[in-house]
Amino acid sequence: MSALLEVEGVHAGYGPVNVLEDISLEVGEGQTVALLGANGAGKTTTLRAISGMLKPRGRIRIAGHDVTGRATERIVKLGVAHVPEGRGTFAPLTVEENLRLGAYARRNGGPDLERAFTLFPRLGERRHQRAGTLSGGEQQMLAIARALMLQPRLMLLDEPSLGLAPNLTRELFKVLRQVKEDEGTAMLVVEQNANLVLEFADAAHVLETGRIVLSGTADEVSADESMRKAYLGY
């Protein structure tokens, strides 16, 4: 049985600038994997390569399908929900419209708005409000809720806690944990807050200038001396 997401020897970049050097990693069905590393290490680029937002060299397989170089909207159809850095909500559209768009690529059944409002009650209160008028934290909730509308097999989360107050961050990870346990959604999470994500993840990879320099279970990575000094700061 092969993993849900297989990334093999991927190189990618922007124009002539190569960012990723020979990245290989796997995310199993229902598994949570963290991507750690300093700014500019290539974490976001890795996610963008997986969801087809840029064209990588190498090989990326999702649920057995080779998706290397495939258009983003077709990769989404395989059940991949990417919550980008900076959220990517549709500011002039309402909360409800944003959520309905999250279910656009779903083949079975209509959008389940009530579930989103159960997970994020604040969004229910604001369902007819334009997304652009929400606070930063609410917009992040909306971005996650919209991704969940797809009922994804794999979520790619780019810095979900960026710019959130600590209590909101805790709330957000509580929801993610719940989704993971209830539905077995696999997640690949890029996060600056390494302590937080290592508590939550099964495995982790540390990127440094476009290469994976350390891989292991979350416990192994947390325990690694160099890792702790360099990225966790204690």
């Binding site: 983003t72 989404v76 500011a91 559209l93 419209e97 999250g102 656009y104």
Partner: protein, 293 residues
């Protein structure tokens, strides 16, 4: 008084045609951020297709429906072939491409159909209906009804279907749209297709009042630009209301302001464009950005 009301109604009827073409401009501007200077010429070309079908013996109503279908496909093909390669480019590039398209379509029409004037049959019966003592031409009622019908259909599609929602999303943020699985390219093609349909309607509605020749839409497009500018370039309702206001202003100025008369009417839309750009650049219903940092 009666003359005033008649002038008013005439203005609204004419304004409905401007509104239909302004709708086409708005549809493309909303989805691709492009002001399509060739919109009028595309409408003229569609009208010639309808004329050709009528000449071939096809009943007018059916000929118009066929023309709308051809326009839908034609608009989509133009987006795919001519606009896609420059999409997201600099504004000047986009403007240049639509101006090139203007010249191309105009030249093509001259080459195929020549520049002689031709009559075009009206969809509506002659004569007028009696509404509370005022005679209103069937044509005027028809024009308003068609425009309202088009707006109604567009509103239903954009506000109440998943397709319309996806088209709006693709217009707002193409990258985020791809991430939820929307085929953005296809949405932009559809936007151009819908616009071509609105333009074609404007063409077949205006042609019976003028003569059909390759310069058919020249004056109309200027009034439509004024309508879209006044209503707000991203607001379909604004385009319609703008069309009516421009139509009425034109009729009143032509009928009541001596020094304007029929010859200087063209100053009305130009004056409106200038005034709107100076006083309220986003137009009556255009939305300034609502994003929050």
């Amino acid at each position: 008084m009666e003359r005033f009301v008649e002038t008013l109604i005439d203005g609204i009827a004419t304004g409905s045609i401007y509104g239909a073409l302004a709708l086409a401009l708005v549809l493309i501007y909303r989805s691709t951020g492009i002001v399509n200077f060739a919109q009028g010429e595309l409408a003229m070309f569609s009208t010639f297709i309808a004329w050709g079908l009528v000449e071939a013996g096809i009943p007018l109503g059916l000929a118009i429906l066929l023309t709308l279908a051809v326009s839908l496909v034609g608009g989509m093909v133009i987006e795919r072939v001519l606009i896609r390669p420059v999409e997201g480019g600099q504004e000047l590039t986009l403007v240049t491409v639509t101006l090139g398209l203007f010249i191309l379509v105009n030249g093509l029409a001259r080459w195929i159909w020549g520049s002689t004037n031709r009559g075009f049959p009206s969809l509506f019966p002659d004569g007028s209906a009696n509404l509370v003592g005022i005679g209103v031409a069937w044509e005027s009622l028809g024009l308003v009804a068609v425009l309202l019908g088009v707006v109604g259909v567009l509103w239903l599609v954009f506000q109440h279907t998943t397709l319309g929602l996806a088209m709006r999303a693709a217009a707002v943020d193409p990258a985020a749209s791809r991430l939820v699985g929307i085929p953005v390219g296809r949405m932009l093609m559809l936007g151009w297709g819908f616009a071509a349909v609105c333009g074609a309607l404007a063409g077949v509605l205006v042609a019976p009042r003028l003569f059909l020749d390759p310069n058919l839409m020249g004056p109309v497009i200027i009034y439509s630009f004024a309508a879209a500018t006044l209503g707000g370039f991203d607001s379909p309702f604004g385009a319609v209301l703008g069309g009516w206001i421009i139509g009425v202003a034109e009729a009143l100025a032509g009928g009541y302001v001596d020094f304007i008369g029929q010859d200087l009417k063209i100053l009305v839309p130009l004056g409106v464009i200038l005034a709107v750009l100076l006083i309220r650049p986003q137009g009556l219903f255009g939305s300034p950005e609502v994003a929050r940092a």
